[in-house]
Structure formats: structure tokens, C-alpha cells
Subunit: 217 residues, 4 copies
């Protein structure tokens, strides 16, 4: 079983066109918080650790060009209201309960990201950064036409945010080495689906070159 | 490579809880139109043919219990406006152009579905039945709490609609044999992702039994 | 000039039907925070004070019947990012700057509301409680079919939330004495528009009787 | 009673800032169809007739500069499904039934608008052009930052679309003489509310000058 055959088949049917870069990018860093990075968290995995360095190189260049940067994390009320409904039943069964409590340390961003005051942190409650948040409004107010997506997990929040951004009409770019998943197999398959359907999956080096080539705003 | 290992790993991390059925279901049949069913269409595939019979058995039982039924199809203006933007570039490159023209025969539903006057047809322009449509409003007006999803493609519109329904807060059920994909491999992997993250993937037999056990409204 | 003539004219044209109450209500209390209640706040007005007592009587009955209760407030990052875009320019010009800073005391709810742990506080950034928030998801997860709206301001957040709830498909009820506006004239005119277009404007006494008549869940 | 006092009071409290024009406008013409223009239609009114000439002058200039133009109309299935729910009960009681049937002539645009092939017609089912439609996606794909709103009715679909556009983050402009309402009083009061809260209400002459001053794309 090799998921590359899905790429080949989908390409042959007219999927997987290249969207390319637009003129006014923003960068979003998805869920780079302890909940997902620490092996001690029920949802966490050390498999994601490798994405930090590529993310930092994208952030450095983006900051040097005053490109808007957004971070997301995920948190629910300790009251655990959602746990009783369908969302909670699917996402937070058994051991995962408590992994996303708002007032615990786990939803906090990894300090290496060094979020600045003018970089908005979006607390989301579903996979997509667009669901139930003001993210779309921030992008429009900044006249963004291109969204560069980094973070985790490829098969969940990254794919979902890429689909939302595509739906909204943005040039959507996923930086290949800057996204990860607790399962390398889920990572590989979903990256191909994303590339065929929603976003251009681009080497991080290309993304950094694109950002570096922008005039500073 | 066996995607069942993704299921095992995700289950061990607290994903994949069972959502179960609620009390007021609706059924949605995704994109069972010539665009996707006819091998002659750029986007079509005979691989999807097998889902028709399970869908018809679900529809028969749903109709006998006056369960609301919705159909979707996908169409764009012949003007091809979207083709120029990111959505068109990703979805409709080269040969796929023209597969989804509004005034062609391809977006028409397969006549075996025998849509009735009180069963709403939703024309969508993205993968999810919820995006840019009044679908959500129809569900709320009918006090639906459970959405049963059938149709194609598993890796695209089915997964996306399942995620939207989960996000919205519905008991989301995907009828296993009633969904298909042009790629069997994409079908298998995405079905596991859906089951771990967004919806209960249930044997069609269970779905029919559940519907049959409802009192008629 | 008497806005009652608008009611008469709109009624004659087929607007202003009665929606009535459904079976599963929720109550939302809009923006009863210092930002809007304190005369010392740029956006605040003592004119709104009279709505507190009717709101408390609705809350008391709702709590006795375990009806879900939601509160909203409005806050922006001190970074003031939005102030630079169209939203900020319209809403927060000159003296109003700083009225809605997230980390100030002003967005805090009036303590008389005595919000309980299981009553969700929604921080919104536009007039409607539905915009950019998870409010819709909370309503669906609780199978709500009726939304009772209280708070302020009638011409802004109350009207806007009523319209969103109507759009979504809910039986939408505005409790007449439990909503207010810094301008009595804007209050009167908008209440008629709401009644003609989006929600039944009902005497608070009716709302309390309806809630009191529910079986406890 | 003079609604100008509402303007004065709201201005004194920090509302009513000027948003101004951006760089990439689009024009939307709301509901200029027989349903609203013909006195013979339950929802129609000759009071709106005067807006046609200002709209045509805006369209002429917009077309000369290749500014994207959108039209909306409103229609429901003859099946009348919505009529049974809250939306239908409020909007379509008694005599208004049938005013908005999809397959009748009433939802058709006034022929004087002379819609061109590349000007998208949006069929909506609520007041706002953004609700349940792909309108937002069209605006983003065209990198629009400014929405110029014309059509009817000021107290309904115009106000609602202006609020949605403001919420989304657009420079929102309502062309004063190009919007109308069956009730002159509702027109006047809502125009002031819109100007204080959501959009700059601008003389049509200013709008035409702004459009005329753009370089052709």
C-alpha cells in the first residue's frame, strides 16, 4: 500500500492544480502547545518535535517583513460542558479528558515561539482555526490573500485549517517540514490529500524564499 | 503500510470515542450525480457505483419514517469565474474544466435516487454541504440532532461534511458501505480518520435498523 | 413622526408574523457589563439600568427549570489591532477607545447576574453573539429550539443577535422590558423592526410564565 | 420625535466613526426584483422606485472600471418548506405567502439592471447577502476590500448586508440615494443606525466619483 498512488490517480482526474502564492501573506502556527507537544499529555507526541525548527525559520523571515502572524491553541472550559455533547464524546473520551482544560498549563504555547504583542493568539474549539473564531475577520482586515500554514496535526487541525482557507478563497500553502502528526502514516497520507484538494504543499525553503522576497510593509 | 495502525495509535491517545445516535435524524446524500458517477466525466469513477444500493436502502427506510432527506450536488457558473481564483486552480485544473458546469447534465442527480418534492436539493460549491449553503438552517428548523451521511467522495465531500456536522454539534454517523471514493486506498484511510475524529462510521445495516426503529413523525 | 406607523405598514405587507415558543429554550443575556452600564464608560449609559430587574426574574425562573443560560461580553486586545481596520474605525473612534479593552474591568459582567459555573460566558467582538464565537455549537449540542434574548443595546447587539437567531432557524423571543438602549428612541424604533422581521417581542411576564411552565430537565 | 437626535447621542458616545474607502471595491445591488418593486407583489412598494436611477449611475461607472458587481434576489422553494419553521412564520405570514416562490417571475431582477454574464447573481434566503451563500468567497477571491451597497430595503436586507460586511472587515459604504424602503420612516431611522454602527452612508455622487477615480483593472 503506497499512498503515492492516490496522488497519481487524483492528478489524472484533474485534481491537484497549483494555486501558487499571492501578494499579501499571513502565517498561522497551529496548536504548537504543550497539549500536543509533550509526550506526558494524552494528546501529545514527541513525533511532532521536528517541526519547531522549520516553524522558527518561517517566523523569523515573516517578522523581518512585517507579515501578520497568528497562533492557535485549543482549550475547553474546565466545566467540561462540551464533553457531554457529540464533540466531547468523539474527541475527549477516556484518557484524553483534561488534556485541553482552559486553565491548565497545557494549552500554553511553546515558549520558543516567542509570540509578540501584535501577534494574535486564537483560542479555538474545533480543528479549524476558522471555526467559531474571529480569524477570518483578522485576515480580511489585513487584506491577506495568502495563508501559510504550519504546526500540528497534519491529519486534524492542519488539514482542516487548510480546507477552510481554500474554501474562503485564499492562496493556501502548507509548509511541508513545518507540519507534523503523532502518526507518520497519517501525516504522509493527509499531506497528499491536502495537496490534491486544498493547498499547495511546499518545501519550507520555498516558503522562506517567498517571504524573504517580499518588500517590507 | 497499513492504516489500521493509525486507528490503533489514535485510539490509544483518546481519540475515536463513540458519539452514538440521537433522537431526530436527517439523511444527506452527497454528490450522487453524473459528475462523479460517470466514468466519462473527468471527476467520475465507476468505483463509486457500489454505494447506490446501500443508499437506496437507507432512503427507503428514512422515507417510511418521514425522516428529512437532503441531496447535494456541485455546480459552478459556466462563466467559470471561480476557475480564475485559488478554488478553481486547485480543483479544476486542465481536464476537469467543465465537469461541474451548472447548465450541463453532469450535476444532475442519478435518477435512481428519485428525489421527492419535499426533499431539498442543495447546490454547493465546496466539499462540505454546510459551506455557503442554507443546509444548517434547514437542520435547525427541523430540530435535527443526528446527521447520517452517505454518498461520495470519502476523502473529499464526505469527510468534509462529516467534519462540519461534528463541528456544529450533531451526532454524526457515516454509513460505511454507503460512501465511496474513486481511490479505494483514499477511501480506507479517510474512513479511519473520520472515525477517529469526527463521526461514528457505522455498518449500513445498523443505520437502517436505527431508522426503522423510529416512530413515524 | 411615530414609528408605530412602520409597524402598521409592515404588518399590512405580510411581515410581523408570530413565531411562538418552541420546546427547548435557552436564555442569552447580552453585554450586561460595566462597559455598557456605567455612565463613566464611553459606551455606557444609565438608561439601561432598568433592564436588570426583568433579567434577574427571567434568570431565576430559567435556573429553576435548568434552562441553559449564556452571557456575552465584548472585548478587544489591548494591542488594539482591530482599531486600525474598518471595525475599529467605525466602532471605536475618539473617546470610545479603551472602553472595551480585554484586560480592563469594563468587560466584566455585572455581579448581580451571579453567573454560575455551568453558564457559559461568550466573549464576542461584533454585535451578534453568533459572530466569531462557538455560540451556535453550544445551542445545537443542547438541542435548543428557542432563544430568549435579553440585555443591551436594542439597536445594536440585541437586534443583531435576534437576527442571527432568526436566520439560524430558532424561535426567537425578545423580552421587552429586559432589553434597553442608551437612546430611548433607538430602543423604540428597533424594537418594532425586530418584531416585524426577526423575533417576537414579548412582555417579560409572558416569558417568565413560559419558562415556569416547563418541566424541569 | 426626530431620529437625528439618535445620531447626535451616538456620536457623542464614540460611535459613528468614518471608515472611508479602500482600494479594491465591489458593488452589490440588493433585491432589485419584482418581489420588492411591484406594488402588485405583497412585499412590493412603489416607494422604492426612486433608487433605480442612482443604482444605474453607480453600475455604469463600476462597469467602466471593471469593478466586480453582484446582484441578489430572494427565493424559496415552492415546496414552501421554510414556511413551516420560524423563518417562514415571521416573514411570510398570510398574504405574503407566494411572494418569493422560486419559479415565479417575482424574484427576477428588474431588466433595467441589464446584468452581464460575468456579474454573479446570488439567490439568498435571509436578509443578508452573506447568509447561506458563497458571496464571501467571491469577495475574497477578487481581493475586495470595500463593499458598496445599493438596493432595498434599508431596514432589512440593506442594513443586514451592511452589518455582515462590517463584521467581515470590509470598508462598507451605503450609497444614500441608491437604497430605499417601503416605509420612508423606517428608511430614515435605519440609515442613521447604519451610519452610526456599520457603514459610511455616502452621497451617491461621492460613490460615483470614487469609482470613476479608480484605474481600470
Amino acid at each position: 500500500m503506497d499512498y503515492e498512488e492516490v496522488r497519481t490517480f487524483y492528478l489524472s482526474r484533474g485534481f491537484g492544480g497549483r494555486v501558487g502564492y499571492g501578494e499579501r501573506p499571513a502565517v498561522v502556527v497551529i496548536d504548537m502547545a504543550r497539549s500536543w507537544l509533550d509526550e506526558s499529555s494524552p494528546l501529545g507526541s514527541a513525533n511532532v518535535a521536528g517541526v519547531m525548527e522549520p516553524i522558527l525559520s518561517i517566523l523569523e523571515t515573516a517578522r523581518s517583513r512585517s507579515v501578520p502572524i497568528f497562533f492557535t491553541t485549543m482549550a475547553f472550559d474546565a466545566a467540561g460542558e462540551e464533553a457531554a455533547g457529540p464533540v466531547g464524546r468523539k474527541l475527549l473520551h477516556t484518557s484524553a479528558q483534561g488534556a485541553l482544560e482552559r486553565d491548565s498549563a497545557r494549552p500554553e504555547l511553546d515558549p520558543r515561539l516567542a509570540r509578540r504583542d501584535n501577534e494574535i493568539l486564537i483560542e479555538k474549539q474545533r480543528a479549524s482555526a476558522f471555526w467559531g473564531t474571529a480569524f477570518q475577520g483578522h485576515l480580511i482586515a489585513r487584506r491577506v490573500d495568502t495563508l501559510i500554514i504550519t504546526g500540528c496535526s497534519t491529519s486534524g487541525c492542519v488539514r482542516s485549517t487548510a480546507e477552510s482557507a481554500h474554501n474562503a478563497g485564499y492562496h493556501t500553502i502548507v509548509a511541508k517540514e513545518a507540519v507534523g502528526d503523532r502518526s507518520p502514516l497519517a501525516h504522509q497520507c493527509n499531506l497528499i490529500d491536502i495537496d490534491m484538494r486544498y493547498a499547495d504543499v511546499e518545501p519550507t525553503g520555498n516558503v522562506v524564499r517567498y517571504l524573504g522576497g517580499l518588500r517590507e510593509r
